[in-house]
C-alpha cells in the first residue's frame, strides 16, 4: 500500500489516481481527475523533462526523473525560493543546459537546440523590456530578427507591423506603441512583455513570476488577464511562482517543487485536498494546514487536547502519525453543545490572537500540543482572547502523514472526500 505514496513522490505526475485505495469512484471510464497530467490524451505532446539534473557546484538545483507539462495546459511550478522552479523554467527555455537528461517539446528532443529554435517564448520577472526601444520595437524585435535571418521566408515589414498591431490590441496596449518602457506603468510593462512573448505565436509560453512585480490590486486583475490570454492564444503556458494562492487559482495543473525535486504534481484540487506530504500540506493553502503528532490507542488517535477517530483500522495501538487538518474545515463546538456523531477530530485550546480578514476571522490558538489555527465566519460570534474553545473536524477532512518521512499515509481518511 505504501507504494502508492512512493509513486506520488518519485514519479511526479504519474499518479495512478484511479487506483487510489479507498476511492469510491465507480465508473472506470470516467477518471476522477480529468485534467490530471498522467491522464492527458497524448503523453508525448507538451513539455517533458526526462531525468534532468542540474547542479551549481555541489548544490543540486534540479533533479526531476520525470516531469510532464501537458499540451494546452496552464501548468504552475510552485515552491519556496530555491526549490528549483526557476531553474526548471530556464532549462526548458534553453537558457541553462542540464547536466544530465533530456528536454522534449512535443516529442522532439530539444536539449541541444538554442532557445530561439524551441518555439517558445518567455516573460521575465522584471519583464526585461529593452529600454532603448519603443513598445512597438520591443514587441517586433523577434520578428525583425526572423526577417534578418531568413530574408526569403521571414515576415515582411508590413506583416511585422500587422502582427505587432494584433498583439497590441489583444493586450489592450494600442496607443502606447511609440512610448519607451520607462514611460509605462508596471501593469503596462507587463502587458508589453506578454505581447512581445505572444507575437511570435509560440506553442509554449513561459512565465517567470510575471505577477510579482505588480502591486497587489493590479495582480488580481492581471491573473484574470493571463487566464483570458491563454484561452485566446491557445498556447501551453508554464508559470513559475512562489505564491501558492496564485498557483491554486490560476493553474489547470500544479507541480509543487521542493529542493529541486517534484514534491507533488496534479490538479490544484488534487494537490489541495490530497497533499502528498507534510511539505505540500504546509506549503499549499493559507493559513497553512495544522499538523499534530498523534499516537493511536486502538480506537482513536490521541494526544493531550485532541482526539480523532478516523473510522478505520488506521489508529492501531501505538501507531504514530501526523494528523493534519485545514483551518477552514474546523467547526466551533459551543461548551454546552454536543459533539457531532460519527468519526472526526475534537481539539481543545485557548484563543491567543484573532485576525480579522473581512469575510472571516483566523483564530490562532495554543494548547498542550502546540499552536494551531482555525478560520471561522466573521458573522458568527467571534471568540475573544484567552477564551477556551473546542473545534470539531469531520473525519473526511482529516489527513494522515507518516510520522518519520512526512509522506501521506494511504489510509488517510481525507481520501474519501473526493469519491
Amino acid at each position: 500500500m505504501t507504494s502508492m505514496t512512493d509513486q506520488v513522490l518519485d514519479a511526479g505526475p504519474r499518479i495512478p489516481a484511479g487506483s487510489r485505495p479507498g476511492s469510491q469512484d465507480g465508473s472506470p471510464d470516467e477518471p476522477p481527475f480529468a485534467g490530471s497530467p498522467s491522464l492527458s490524451a497524448d503523453d508525448s505532446r507538451g513539455i517533458r523533462l526526462d531525468g534532468v539534473v542540474k547542479s551549481y557546484g555541489s548544490h543540486t538545483a534540479l533533479d526531476t526523473p520525470v516531469l510532464h507539462v501537458p499540451e494546452g495546459s496552464l501548468t504552475v511550478f510552485v515552491g519556496p525560493s530555491g526549490c528549483g522552479k526557476s531553474t526548471a523554467l530556464r532549462v526548458i527555455a534553453g537558457l541553462e543546459s542540464p547536466d544530465r537528461g533530456r528536454v522534449l517539446i512535443d516529442g522532439a528532443d530539444v536539449t541541444s537546440h538554442p532557445p530561439g529554435a524551441r518555439d517558445l517564448s518567455m516573460v521575465f520577472q522584471d519583464f526585461a523590456l529593452y529600454p532603448h526601444m519603443t513598445v512597438e520595437q520591443n514587441i517586433g524585435f523577434s520578428l525583425r530578427l526572423e526577417a534578418r535571418h531568413n530574408r526569403r521566408k521571414g515576415p515582411t515589414r508590413a506583416q511585422i507591423a500587422e502582427r505587432v498591431r494584433d498583439a497590441c490590441s489583444l493586450l489592450r496596449i494600442d496607443g502606447l506603441e511609440k512610448r519607451r518602457p520607462a514611460q509605462l506603468s508596471g501593469g503596462e510593462r507587463q502587458r508589453v512583455g506578454l505581447a512581445r512573448a505572444i507575437v511570435r505565436r509560440p506553442s509554449v509560453l513561459l512565465l517567470d513570476e510575471p505577477l510579482s512585480a505588480l502591486d497587489a490590486q493590479l495582480r488580481q486583475h492581471a491573473r484574470a488577464e493571463l487566464v483570458r490570454l491563454r484561452r485566446e492564444v491557445g498556447a501551453t503556458m508554464l508559470l513559475v511562482t512562489h505564491d501558492q494562492l496564485e498557483a491554486l487559482s490560476m493553474g489547470t495543473h500544479l507541480v509543487v517543487l521542493n529542493s529541486g525535486k517534484v514534491a507533488q504534481a496534479g490538479t490544484p484540487v488534487d494537490v489541495y485536498q490530497r497533499p502528498a506530504s507534510t511539505f505540500v500540506a504546509a506549503f499549499v493553502g493559507s493559513p497553512s494546514m495544522n499538523l499534530h503528532p498523534v499516537r493511536g490507542d486502538g480506537v482513536a488517535f490521541v494526544t493531550p487536547g485532541l482526539r480523532a477517530t478516523v473510522g478505520n483500522a488506521a489508529s492501531d495501538s501505538g501507531r504514530q502519525a501526523l494528523l493534519g487538518w485545514r483551518p477552514g474545515e474546523g467547526r466551533l463546538i459551543g461548551a454546552d453543545s454536543d459533539v457531532p456523531n460519527g468519526p472526526g477530530m475534537l481539539i481543545e485550546g485557548v484563543v491567543d490572537v484573532v485576525e480579522f480578514t473581512g469575510d472571516g476571522v483566523i483564530v490562532n490558538c495554543r494548547s498542550e500540543l502546540g499552536r494551531w489555527a482555525v478560520v471561522l465566519p466573521a458573522h458568527d460570534c467571534v471568540p475573544a482572547a484567552d477564551e477556551r474553545l473546542r473545534v470539531h473536524v469531520p473525519a473526511s477532512r482529516l489527513h494522515l502523514f507518516d510520522a518519520a518521512g512526512g509522506r501521506r499515509l494511504p489510509d488517510a481518511p481525507g481520501d474519501n472526500i473526493l469519491g
Binding site: 527555455a93 530561439g116 529593452y130 529600454p131 524585435f141 520607462a182
Partner: protein, 260 residues
C-alpha cells in the same frame, strides 16, 4: 566660492599662456595680463616654420585609431568577463589590474624593439597599434558598466532568437552607448597627450605628434616662447573641441538610453 577659486587657480596658467601667445617678442615677459599691443605674429611664424597641420593630423590619427581599437577590443572583453562564466576569469581580472598599475615606461623597450623589427618606425601603425597595450583601463571601466545591465535583457534577446553577435549589436551596444562615449573620451585624451612613445617610434619632423613636435620646436628655437605658446594653444584646440562635442553627446546618450 571654493569651486570658483579652484577653477580660477586651475585656469590661470592657461589664460596666461593664451595672452602671452599674442604678445610680441620684445614684450613677452611683460606682467600686463592683457596682450597690449597684441600681435598675430607668433601664430604666423608658427604656421610658416612648423608643420603644425601635419602634426595635428598625425596626433588625431593616433588618438582616434587607438580609441577605436581599444573600444573594439574592450567591449567584447568586458562583456565576456561579466556574462560568460569561463575558467581563469579571476586570473584575467588580476592580470588586467596588474596591467593597470605597471607603468607604461616599463613596456617601452620591448615595444620599441618589436615595433622596430616590424619596421613600424615613423608610421601610423607604430603610433597606433602599441597603444592597445593600455586597454586594461577601458576593459575595467566598461566591465563596471556591463555589470549594471540587467542580465535578463540578454536572456530575453536570446529567446527572441538573437545570436550572441546580435545580442551585442542590438541590445548591449546601444545600452552601453553613454559608457562608450565616456570611456572613448578618456582614452582619446590620454592618447592625445602621449609623449614618450611617439618621441621614440616617430621622431621624424613630419611623422611625429604635436606633443613631441612642441618639444622639438622649443629645442630648435631656444627660449622663444611666443611661437611656442602659439603652437601649444593650437594643439589644445582639437581636444577642447572634442570635449565640448562629446560632453553634450554623453548627456544626450544618458537621456536617450532610458537607463536610470
Amino acid at each position: 566660492m571654493v569651486l570658483l577659486g579652484t577653477v580660477l587657480i586651475m585656469i590661470f596658467p592657461l589664460l596666461w599662456a593664451l595672452t602671452t601667445s599674442f604678445k610680441p617678442a620684445n614684450n613677452i615677459y611683460s606682467t600686463n595680463p592683457l596682450p597690449l599691443p597684441a600681435t598675430l605674429g607668433n601664430y604666423r611664424f608658427t604656421f610658416a616654420e612648423f608643420p603644425i597641420a601635419r602634426l595635428l593630423l598625425n596626433t588625431f590619427v593616433m588618438a582616434s585609431g587607438a580609441t577605436l581599437l581599444q573600444l573594439v577590443v574592450s567591449v567584447p572583453a568586458a562583456y565576456a568577463l561579466v556574462r560568460l562564466r569561463t575558467r581563469g576569469q579571476g586570473l584575467v581580472l588580476v592580470a588586467l589590474t596588474v596591467a593597470l598599475v605597471v607603468p607604461a615606461q616599463a613596456l617601452i623597450i620591448p615595444h620599441f624593439l618589436l615595433a622596430t623589427r616590424l619596421e613600424w618606425r615613423n608610421t601610423y601603425l607604430g603610433l597606433v597599434v602599441p597603444q592597445l597595450a593600455t586597454s586594461a583601463l577601458a576593459v575595467l571601466l566598461l566591465r563596471e558598466h556591463v555589470r549594471k545591465l540587467p542580465p535578463t535583457l540578454a536572456s530575453a534577446a536570446i529567446l527572441d532568437g538573437a545570436t550572441a553577435w546580435e545580442v551585442l549589436r542590438f541590445i548591449v551596444l546601444p545600452l552601453l552607448r553613454p559608457s562608450l562615449a565616456a570611456v572613448g573620451i578618456i582614452v582619446f585624451i590620454n592618447t592625445w597627450n602621449e609623449y614618450l612613445w611617439p618621441s621614440l617610434i616617430a621622431p621624424g619632423r613630419e611623422n611625429t605628434t604635436i606633443q613631441v613636435g612642441l618639444a622639438l620646436f622649443g629645442n630648435q628655437e631656444g627660449q622663444d616662447f611666443g611661437p611656442l605658446l602659439a603652437a601649444a594653444m593650437i594643439s589644445t584646440l582639437p581636444i577642447v573641441a572634442v570635449y565640448m562635442f562629446a560632453s553634450r553627446r554623453i548627456a544626450d546618450a544618458f537621456l536617450q538610453s532610458g537607463l536610470r
